[in-house]
Each structure stands twice: as C-alpha cells, then as structure tokens.
C-alpha cells in the first residue's frame, strides 16, 4: 500500500462513504415507516366492527365488511399448513438425520432453497393445471395446495436446522437406553426441537398468508360465505387486489383496511416467531 497518499483525502473519502451508507440505512428505515404509516392511516379508517362481521356490500352502498374473506384466508392458510407441515417436517427429518452427506440430501437441499424463492404465480399456474382443470372449477383446495407448495420448502429447511440444533448427547442417551431410532425421534428429538420447529412453521404461515398471486386462479374469490373447499373461496388478498383495482372509492377504502389487517397480522406473526427463535438460538 502506498504510504504517501494524502491522508486527508483518504479520511474525507471514508467519511463520504460512511455518510452515504448511513443514509442508505436511514432511507430503508424511512421507507418502512412511510409504507407502514400509510397502510395504518388509510387502513384504520376502514376498520370497524362491521369489517369483521359483515359480508361485502355492493359498490356505492354504505357499510359491509370482509368477514367472509377473513374466514376464508384463515381456512386456506390452515388447510395449506395441514398439507405442508407433515410433508416438510418429514422431508426435513430426512435431511437432518439421513441425508447429511448423501447426494440425495444435497440435491433436495438445493432444490428446496430454489423453490423457496420460486415465482409464486407459476405455482398458481401449476395448481390450476393439476387441480382446477381436472376438477372442472376453481376451488379452495386448489388454493390450499398452491400455498402448501410454497410452504413445503420453508418448513423442510427450518425443520432440518432445528433438528440439527438438538445436542448429540440427547441422541446418545436415548439410544443407549435401547430405544430404536424412530422412537428416539418421536419421543425425544422432535420434542426437544418443538419450539424451534413451531416458530419455523409460523414464519412459513406468515409468508403464505400474504400471498396473492397463487390464489388468483385457484381459489379465485367469492362474495359469499364459504360452504365447501370445493368451491371458489373468498380470501383477503384477492379481495384486496380486486377492490384496490376497482374504480369505487369505498371499495378502495376497504382494500386499505384489508391491507392493514394482512400487514399487521403478518408482521406480528413474524416478529413473534423471530423473538422466540432468537431466544432459542442463544
């Protein structure tokens, strides 16, 4: 390194870069406050008792709510989790227990990491082709399957990580008592990793509950209460999309309300599971 570089210039450049970098971080924070602030300000005005208890009103008519969409989103998310959690936990178990060094393990890990970021709209297209077309109509199941496909790789990878955190001594102690491997997993290791796995699942739930693209042509939307998962099912995100794109002002207000509800639930779930995870990792 050259010794005779003007020190003042170096210090100046350093200060400049530090200033720009701090500025970038502050800008990031500003955007967060700005977006959340807008969502809260515009959303809260739409939220009242009716919002949670009534069916949507036609445009121009006062009142109405999104009760059916709120219930629909909850049901879709639960159905997706029911499919994805067993699948992901078992696949994650393979990765943590049997596939550490094997080629199959490496391949599954690689594909899961790619699928985590795969475009969700393409997953929606896939669910449309394999479920909606054979069934002949849009359905809640198709939406649940699409969401489940998004959840599976997330659950798989977090399960693997959490199982790996369980101390080896616990395994040795259980096996030394003569327990077979599967009993050790069910009785000891899953229990030891339960908190971490649950929070991982919650993070995955948070992620899919805000998804819109995979539902656009699977679950579609509906202005009514749902009667079965074999029919189109009302949900918050597609309702938000339709309402926000509509020319009616009261629908747009309703959309902000939906945005507020989705954002606050997703963030609350995310923060909650992060706090638990952080406590556990230490």
């Amino acid at each position: 390194m050259a010794v005779h570089i003007d020190t003042r210039r170096r210090v100046l450049i350093n200060k400049l870069v530090m200033g720009v970098s701090t500025g970038a971080a502050l800008a990031g924070l500003t955007m967060l406050v700005w977006i959340l602030g807008d969502v809260a300000l515009k959303g809260l005005s739409a939220i009242n008792w009716d919002f949670f208890t009534k069916l949507p009103a036609p445009p121009g008519e006062e009142g109405g709510g999104l009760a059916n969409a709120i219930v629909g989103t909850l049901i879709l998310t639960v159905a997706a989790a029911l499919i994805a959690v067993p699948f992901g936990v078992l696949a994650g178990t393979y990765l943590a227990e049997f596939g550490k060094t094997e080629k199959l393990g490496a391949a599954v890990r690689y594909v899961s990491d790619i699928l985590v970021s795969a475009p969700s709209i393409v997953i929606g297209v896939f669910a449309y082709l394999v479920i909606v077309i054979p069934m002949g109509n849009f359905s809640g199941w198709a939406g649940a399957v699409a969401l489940a496909i998004i959840m599976i790789p997330v659950v798989t990878r977090t399960t693997e990580e959490m199982l790996r955190l369980v101390p080896i001594e616990m395994r040795e102690a259980t096996l030394a008592l003569g327990a077979p491997y599967w009993k050790m997993m069910l009785g000891v290791i899953y229990r030891a990793a339960a908190t971490g796995m649950t929070t991982g699942i919650l993070l995955a739930v948070a992620r899919v509950s805000g998804e819109t693209a995979p539902l656009l042509f699977t679950s579609l939307n509906s202005p009514y209460w749902l009667e079965s998962l074999n029919e189109p099912i009302a949900n918050l995100t597609v309702t938000l999309f339709n309402y926000a794109m509509s020319p009616y002002e009261d629908w747009q207000t309703m959309a902000w309300g939906a945005a507020f509800l989705i954002t606050s639930s997703v963030l609350a779930l995310t923060v909650f599971s992060r706090i638990i995870l952080m406590k556990r990792m230490r």
Binding site: A25, E97, A118, L175, A179, Y181, T237
Partner: protein, 321 residues
C-alpha cells in the same frame, strides 16, 4: 419393553432385527417425502411443458421473439412480456444493489452496537410485508408522486432521449422498477450483511492495524473476500424480482406494447399471467400463457440456482472470495 443396550459406539441405524422394521420404515418414509420435493419440481416442469406444447407447436421458437399478443386473432408472442420483465428487473437492480450494499455496510461495520439489531430487524420486516401491499402502496402513493415530481424532473433533464419521453402518467415501467427495488432491497441487504459478517476479524483487524480507513477495509478486504456471497445475494434479489407478480401488476400499466420510454406502460410475464389467466378462453390462449409461465420458471430457476451455488461456496469451510 425390556431391551439390552447396544454396544456400538456409533449411532446405529437399524441393528437388532426386532427394531429393524420400525427404523427401516421411518427412514423410508422420510426419504420418500424428501424425494417428493424433487418429484414436485419435476412435476412442475413436466406439467408446464406439456400444457404449453400447443403454443410451442403453433409458434415454435418464434414465440420468444414475436411482439404480437392478440387473443382475437390468436397470435401470441412472448417478446413484450419478456422485455418488460427484464427492463423492470434491471431498473430494480440498478437502484437496489448500491442501496443494499450501503445498508449492509452500515449494519455490519458502521452502526453502533446498540442500534444494529433494531435496524437489522427493521430491514427484515420490510421483507416480510406482503408484496400486494407494496403494489397497492405503489399505485396509490408512489405513482401520483412519480407523475407530479420525479417524471417531470427526469423528463426535463433527459426528455431528449427516447427513454424519458412521453406522457407522465405515474404508472409504467419505471415505477414498476422502483417498487420492485423497494421489495428486493431487504433481501439483498440482509444476505450481504451476513456475508460481511463472515469476514474473519483477523483480516479486518490487520488492515485496520496498518492504518486503513473503514472504507479501505471494506473496499480492499470485505468486498473481495465476500465477492461470491455478494453475487449470491444479488442473484437472489434478481430471482425474486423476475418472478414478482403483485407489486408489479399494480403499477406496470398492463399494456402489450413495446416502447422505448420508461414512462410508458408495459407488461411483465408475471403481470400478464395475473391479468389474463382467468380470462383465457380458447386452448391456444391458455397454452400460450402457460408457455409464458414456463419461460419465467426456467429463467428464475437458473438465476436462483446460480445464487445458491455462490452462497454455498461462500459458506463452505476454507473457501476464499
């Protein structure tokens, strides 16, 4: 349940015949589900390919290079959607990469210890906001600001180029790119921060000990050391941006036209699918849309594949930038 202890020093997988069945079954089931993930990916490629066969047969490779998209005459080409996807993504990366590296630098090196965690959490929360909220915010808040301030300013400065000319409507390619940038900044920033943190303290301290300034340590030590990881982070952001649907659909304008101007409305693959999939009547129309989805899936798969390779190499022990 009486059982004698095993004498193996290693953890046995299935030794005594009595327990063999349970363990073999357990391993088989978990392996089955792991293979299921690979099959899922295979099924996605296969189904998308099979359903786009009609469009591939009808248009051949010309599908990728034709700018026609006419449901009435049933002539379909992917050029407009592919161009829109690439242009909006390039705008997003041009904005997002420098900002993200700045944020990562701040979080890893500059920020006082006390504010690192809250700042880091705030950036990660930006990543958790659902993309449809970004899109809605872009349409109702950002787009009016774009047409009132940024577009006139850019039009005044660079209006003589074809890129910043034309009506300043707020929505369009540029706005879509900016909303996308907002969305991927948290991803790139938090991965880059983790990469910076992996730089061994000895390396940094040696440089500081020689009298290097913070910026010199970053420029000459941290960025070269973490180069692969940073590439990985950028590719990850790129993969996300290419496939992002809702944030783009709100603000891109949804017009099937090629236009030099970044102010003009356009379409991306994802926004085309979002807008037209349920309306597609006719097998060829649907098949063409599926073919668009296949193109998107292939591109993102490759990009994300690269991202993972880079990130793995970074975290592999003994690797150097």
């Amino acid at each position: 349940m009486s059982r004698t202890a095993t004498s193996e020093s290693q953890i046995p997988e299935a030794t005594a015949p009595r327990r063999a069945f349970g363990d073999v079954a357990f391993k088989a089931i978990t392996t089955g589900f792991a293979v299921g993930i690979l099959l899922l990916l295979g099924a996605m490629f296969f189904v998308l390919w099979r359903e786009s066969a009609l469009a591939i047969e009808a248009f051949g490779p010309g599908f990728l290079t034709s700018a026609k998209w006419n449901p009435v005459t049933e002539k379909f080409g992917a050029l407009v959607a592919i161009t829109g996807t690439l242009v909006s993504t390039v705008i997003a990366l041009l904005v997002a990469v420098p900002v993200s590296i700045g944020i990562a630098l701040f979080l890893a090196e500059l920020a006082p210890e006390k504010i690192r965690t809250p700042f880091g959490v705030a950036i990660e929360l930006l990543a958790a906001i659902p993309s449809i909220v970004y899109g809605m915010w872009g349409l109702f808040v950002l787009a009016p600001l774009m047409s009132a301030y940024l577009q006139p300013a850019l039009g005044g400065l660079f209006g003589w180029t074809p890129f910043f000319s034309g009506p300043q409507m707020g929505i369009g390619m540029l706005t879509a790119g900016l909303v996308l940038a907002l969305m991927i900044i948290p991803f790139i920033a938090s991965v880059t921060r983790d990469v910076f943190r992996m730089v061994p303290a000895q390396l940094k301290e040696s440089a500081y000990g020689m009298g290097a300034t913070t910026w010199e340590v970053v420029k000459d030590i941290m960025i070269p050391y973490g180069r692969k990881g940073i590439y990985g982070a950028v590719f990850l952001g790129l993969g996300r941006a290419l496939g992002e649907t809702m944030a783009v659909t709100f603000v891109i304008g949804n017009a099937h036209r090629l236009n030099w101007s970044l102010f003009a409305p356009g379409n991306s693959i994802a926004s085309t699918l979002a807008n037209e999939f349920t309306e597609a009547d006719g097998d060829l129309y649907l098949s063409s849309l599926v073919a668009l989805g296949l193109v998107l899936f292939l591109i993102t798969f490759l990009i994300l594949g690269f991202a993972q390779l880079y990130l793995k190499r970074m975290s592999a022990p003994g690797s150097k930038g």
